[in-house]
Symmetry: C2
């Protein structure tokens, strides 16, 4: 008997097939990227001291030695400012000056600087009145789509509303119409009550393993308050930094130096959604690959037990 579960935020369909993790596997050498130990690499365009490689510095936080984080124009942008069917800015936000920095080893202070930069760049990019949406995301290691190892995040403003955001907004609006209550408030309430999938219940953020997700091992961080990403203050940034520092230590202890993506789902800028939609983050490990079944049908298969995973990651 197979159960179908649905991701309550986006309606993704997931078939629960727990035995599939027991499949025999060929003994194939799996690429694990080696952990970098160098704090500085003279060929890396994102290292402190190699400023000549990058153009148009947009933001930085410095100490007496030099910059700690900075944001620069992406030299190979997905969107640009020239008039066209889609328009926007694309910046690379360097998470830390340390070449060997990563979410797995960054200090709370490093995270604080990074999130302060996220906020600054978000406010700047959202201020253009032609922009419908600002996307913040991060690729870590090649398997997640990263081309360079130096830890960096990206921010892209878009003159169109992305389909995945439109879908989440539609679902939350429908939920409100049908139930007269916000979907995200319900999720927060239910997950805290249920407890089993909660990794951490903070003052401002709830960290959970979603009941259903197409991505095996996904962790979700939900803003408890109905605020825009531009409204995060020192308290939010401090809690978020503590959370990231602890969560990624747990992830490292569990699975090692793994590729992952971070995707922040913020509010659309021209569609009213603050009443029904809470900012949230998807942290997606890239250990597994979808197969032809997923690519050919849009149905996903989960062999993970969310409660067990939450237990392992709890703090």
């Amino acid at each position: 008997m197979k159960e179908i579960i649905r991701d309550n935020m986006n309606n993704d369909i997931v078939i629960v097939a727990k035995n599939r993790s027991k499949r025999p596997m060929d003994k194939v050498a799996i690429q694990i990227e080696e952990e970098t130990t160098l704090e500085y690499d003279k060929e890396c365009p994102f290292c402190r001291g190699n400023e000549s490689y990058t153009t148009n510095e947009r933001f930085k936080i410095e100490d007496e030695v030099g910059w700690l984080v900075k944001s620069v124009d992406n030299k190979f942008p997905i969107v640009d400012e020239l008039p066209g069917e889609v328009y926007g800015l694309h910046e690379v936000m360097i998470d830390t000056y340390r070449h060997n920095g990563s979410f797995y080893n960054m200090s709370e202070d490093e995270f604080k600087n990074m999130f302060s930069m996220y906020k600054d760049r978000y406010i700047t990019l959202m201020s253009d009145e032609n922009i419908e949406y600002v996307s913040i995301f991060k690729n870590f290691l090649r398997k997640s789509g990263a081309s360079l190892i130096h830890p960096h995040s990206q921010i892209i403003s878009l003159s169109i509303l992305p389909p995945d955001i439109e879908n989440e907004i539609e679902i939350s609006n429908r939920y409100y119409r049908d139930n007269d209550v916000c979907l995200y408030e319900e999720i927060i309430k239910n997950e805290i009550e249920n407890e089993n999938r909660v990794i951490h219940n903070g003052s401002y953020f709830l960290v959970i393993v979603p009941y259903a997700t197409k991505y095996s091992g996904e962790v979700r961080i939900i803003f408890k308050e109905k605020i825009g990403f531009e409204e995060i203050n020192e308290k939010h940034i401090t809690e978020l930094s503590k959370i990231f520092q602890k969560l990624f230590k747990k992830l490292y202890n569990m699975s090692g130096y793994n590729a992952f993506n971070l995707c922040i789902h913020t509010h659309p800028l021209k569609v009213e959604s603050k009443k029904n939609f809470n900012v949230h983050m998807h942290i997606i490990p890239r250990k597994y690959s979808f197969g032809g079944f997923e690519l050919g049908t849009g149905i996903y298969v989960s062999s993970i037990n969310p409660e067990e995973l939450a237990k392992k990651l709890k703090f």
Copy 2:
């Protein structure tokens, strides 16, 4: 200036950013799975002679030496026959008895046997009146989701209609209502007229590089006739086998021993769609990984020139 293009079959949004293929990359050792040379591996559950590893043989084609292709129950099924929210059968179809066989080196006769098996299993699995859809797909190498290297395809019957198929059917129905002509016939006509994205224009099948697709390097094979997959006859199977044999030689010469998926989009069994929808196949190379932008927005980025790719693969 960035252009947005849409996949006409499924409405996927793609931003064309041709310069992105020039991004600098870290010199990371990329895992290329080694090409297997053994025709027989005593530990492989799918090798001829190792029948004790598999259960419930459902179909086979034999010659005087033994079976050439066979279909068996998947021991780790995504769906099963027990009553539940989703129900169906899941078989593994072994493409060839040769452990070192692959689409890159299979003969026309091997492909013929494989497609005859696809047809036989499709007819059997579609005959259950509770089934809404039968999905045929293939994963080759670990990056595509395959757990075993011995070349095999899979077939799954489902008591639900997959969202991706529902979406394609809706789009083709809408196109018919708006234009009074079948979308797939229009695509076939336009691609043949335009010529530049045609890899091969056969009697029964058109092989193209799609104008827009979320998967860099995808090749699509469209049935020219409005027939169900169960209706393919000897002539179709012969042409399809020649096409696969030539296409995968070309792909091998271009990119080597690469991971890929094959997804066959057949007709839903309970929703009338034969008037507006042609069976087609998606061949998806798994050389590239989506990044956080794609996972977080549902917008895809293409740096490929479909006309150039079609020219390289033309036969």
